[in-house]
Symmetry: C2
Subunit: 137 residues, 2 copies
């Protein structure tokens, strides 16, 4: 159980119906992580994001950005120009979260070999292939 520093809230992440289950919403979703991380590099347009995040469909990019905007992590600015220009930027709140997410990203990148080794040892064929490919290089 944790007591919130600023307000008087008392809650426990492990309980259902607890507001901090929003954590899960923030982290889940296949594209949230990549989108937030991409925006760390600064303000970007829809098409730029689509190009950067390989494999994201227009629908999911839009949906993910809408979600982040909803939570106040990303701001969306429409410029009155032709052709239209819309850009997205992390808010201060978003920046904070992005920093933490980036830590995990860096950690993961540095431990890819270890995790692959574990997976391969447990019989994961994809991990075995990847390891073999990396070893051959």
């Amino acid at each position: 159980m944790v007591t919130n520093a600023t307000e008087g809230y008392t809650f426990d992440v492990f309980k259902r119906h607890c507001a901090s289950h929003m954590v899960l919403d923030l982290l889940s979703g296949k594209w949230t992580y990549l989108t937030v991380t991409a925006l760390r590099q600064g303000r970007m347009r829809n098409a730029e994001l689509a190009r950067k995040i390989e494999g994201i469909s227009p629908k999911m990019l839009s949906q993910t950005l809408r979600g982040l905007e909803h939570d106040g992590l990303v701001s969306r600015t429409v410029h009155a120009e032709v052709p239209p220009r819309v850009d997205y930027e992390l808010t201060a709140l978003g920046e904070e979260l992005a920093g933490l997410m980036d830590q995990i990203c860096i950690w993961a990148q540095n431990h890819v070999p270890e995790i692959l080794t574990h997976r391969a040892a447990n019989g994961d064929p994809e991990a075995q292939e990847r390891l073999a490919a990396a070893g051959a290089r």
Copy 2:
């Protein structure tokens, strides 16, 4: 693009088919986060975890633990006793990740009010209710 410190790997999280997409696998999944965080408090048995993580079904607990074990983040020890006793513990690798996840968890807890305010402003009825309930306290 990031170059791995220990090996010679070069990869980019934003590319598909990149090994660091494992990040996503680690973070996604409704229960991974809670399970890892729960295990930060030390070695635990199946039933203890089930009690702690409110709402998790036996199936999902088992599946989540199996996944974490697969990746080498959690170790599973079976004791030759009757009734059977099995306990789970974070490995060194798991501990590291758990620490980072906890940062995000703490951040989220501290910013619940802000995020709820944003959501409420964007017309989210659940957020409006929660805010009203918190205000009344």
